[in-house]
């Protein structure tokens, strides 16, 4: 298809060059390995080699009881641990048909949205740094630090929170925490404006992201892209809207959509999502109900025999958990995670074909993967 034309445009006939990008490479975001076949600097084809961070999380869960597994989910998408917690506990609650108090639902939503902001900040920073704007990276991490402080104050941890329990939350909010979250929500939009000043209308940024890695809505659906990457191609699919969980149906927010499905659209979609997250957090704080944060949960969590699948909208996309319980043991019979990073990573070769090496770097950034989640 395009390969013919692309090879003809490069001036010199060199041999096809096969280079290994990673697993030790500054911009593969961890231990991703890409085997690139290059013609000059143009990517003809690419193999994605994963598994360098495989720790057997899914198998490990079969040896842990249901409460302990929350801790394992922290270690999958380690830049969005709270979302992983949320997806898991909700799945178990669904399997056991547990009722979760309203206050816990609201706090969970606040935590998930703060986590989305933190995750998107890491994404924006690394993405910008891959394209050469190092300063944005440090600015983003500065704001992420504030989110981490909030999490630290809530649950004591800064990265792997273990912040949720089956049936509710381990503890209520500390006094003054809400005010700090509100202060952060007031601060963040201005900071996002700052990032946009550095990037959105920057000619170089536009040239580097516009029309790079274009994927149509149909193709994106076919290959299983999820989350902001899918919505940037114009497909309206957001678990928060389509199958509301936690307290999302109480809040008013917009799901941003892209039109062209290129790197720039994915960039703008995520930026708008951050602003929408701020809105959700503010609404949740305004409507925060009183009451307990832990529902009625049996002392031993032992779901009845059966299986269930439940998905949430993690920062990366649709994060699903599938749990099979045999009704006797205290551990799942089988737990399977549908990681959005892995699904998005599948699109990388298709996005990169025909582009230059420099674009591969931008594309790894734009699909927003975390290798901990890809390999599990």
């Amino acid at each position: 298809m395009t390969t013919n034309r692309d090879t003809a445009t490069s001036a010199f006939d060199t041999d096809e060059l096969v280079i290994n990008m990673g697993p030790q490479h500054p911009s593969t975001h961890g231990v991703l390995r890409l085997v690139l076949r290059l013609d000059g600097e143009r990517v003809i084809d690419m193999d994605v080699v994963i598994g360098y961070l495989h720790r057997g999380v899914e198998k490990l869960t079969e040896q842990r009881d249901y409460t302990q597994i929350v801790l394992l989910t922290d270690r999958m998408d380690y830049v969005a641990a709270a979302s992983n917690n949320l997806g898991y506990v909700e799945t178990v609650e669904k399997l056991m048909s547990l009722e979760v108090p309203k206050r816990a639902q609201y706090i969970r939503t606040v935590l998930a949205e703060l986590q989305r902001i933190a995750s998107h900040l890491v994404w924006l920073g690394t993405h910008a740094m891959d394209i050469g704007a190092v300063t944005v990276f440090l600015y983003c991490l500065r704001e992420r630090e504030l989110v981490l402080d909030l999490f630290e104050e809530y649950c004591g941890a800064r990265l792997t929170y273990n912040a949720m329990r089956v049936g509710g939350l381990p503890m209520d909010l500390s006094t003054g925490w809400e005010a700090k979250v509100r202060a952060f929500c007031d601060l963040l939009p201005g900071k996002i404006d700052d990032y946009e000043t550095l990037l959105t209308n920057n000619r170089i940024w536009l040239e580097r992201t516009k029309d790079v890695g274009v994927i149509s809505g149909a193709d994106a659906t076919a290959i299983g892209l999820t989350g902001p990457a899918l919505r940037a191609s114009g497909v309206r699919r957001d678990v928060r809207k389509d199958e509301p969980y936690a307290a999302y149906k109480d809040f008013d927010f917009e799901v941003p959509l892209g039109t062209r499905g290129d790197t720039y659209d994915r960039y703008t979609v995520r930026l708008i999502e951050m602003r929408q997250s701020v809105r959700i957090v503010q609404q949740a704080l305004d409507g925060m109900p009183d009451g307990p944060v832990m529902g009625k949960v049996p002392r031993l969590i032992k779901p009845p025999a059966g299986e269930t699948y439940h998905a949430i909208e993690s920062p990366k996309g649709e994060l699903g958990y599938f749990i099979v319980s045999d009704g006797q043991s205290l551990s799942p019979y089988r737990l399977r995670v549908r990681p959005p990073s892995l699904c998005n990573l599948q699109a990388l070769p298709q996005l990169a074909r025909g582009h230059l090496v420099a674009d591969v770097v931008a594309l790894i950034g734009t699909i927003d993967i975390v290798l901990g989640e890809v390999d599990r």
């Binding site: 090879t7 003809a8 490069s10 001036a11 010199f12 006939d13 060199t14 041999d15």
Partner: protein, 168 residues
């Protein structure tokens, strides 16, 4: 005295460089020696009060033409040694012999030249740098050849592009 020292040093450099260019095993090494030779020749031009030519020599030859050689050497990524196959009719000794004969002939000419009247240093014909003198000659006396040369370069450029295009 100073001229003599400079001449002998530079001549030694040039000739060594030249020999290395044609004897080096790897073409990349050849290119490096060629650069060295060309820079030494540029220095020689300075000794001969042709500063402008010296700079152009470095700028165009070393900075342009030889870079092109280096590019091609690096792009031509051979899978076997470049000179593995020898044509049965190749007569290398004859080549060397012919070269020697040419040198002898030149030597004879040079022998005569040594006896020709000696000329003083050239400072007289270019008092304040020779850029102006060269420019005047180039743009006034030799304007037509200059234009022809530029057309030649244009044609060569088009030709090179046509040759190097893959889908030609």
């Amino acid at each position: 005295m100073g001229t003599a020292i400079a001449f002998y040093i530079l001549a030694a450099l040039i000739l060594t460089g030249g020999v290395l260019v044609i004897t080096a095993k790897s073409a990349v090494h050849s290119v490096v020696w060629l650069v060295g030779t060309i820079i030494a020749i540029a220095a020689l031009y300075v000794v001969q009060h042709a500063e402008f030519l010296a700079v152009i020599q470095v700028l165009v030859y070393a900075g342009g033409i030889v870079v092109l050689y280096l590019f091609v050497v690096m792009l031509v990524n051979l899978k076997r040694p470049a000179e593995a196959i020898v044509h049965p009719q190749r007569r290398e000794r004859t080549g060397l012999l012919l070269g020697g004969a040419l040198l002898a002939q030149f030597a004879a000419v040079a022998f005569y030249a040594f006896n020709s009247p000696q000329v003083g240093t050239a400072a007289t014909y270019s008092a304040r740098g020779n850029v102006e003198a060269v420019a005047r000659a180039l743009y006034v006396e030799y304007l037509v050849p200059f234009e022809v040369a530029s057309v030649l370069l244009l044609v060569a450029m088009v030709g090179a592009i046509v040759l190097a295009r893959r889908d030609a």
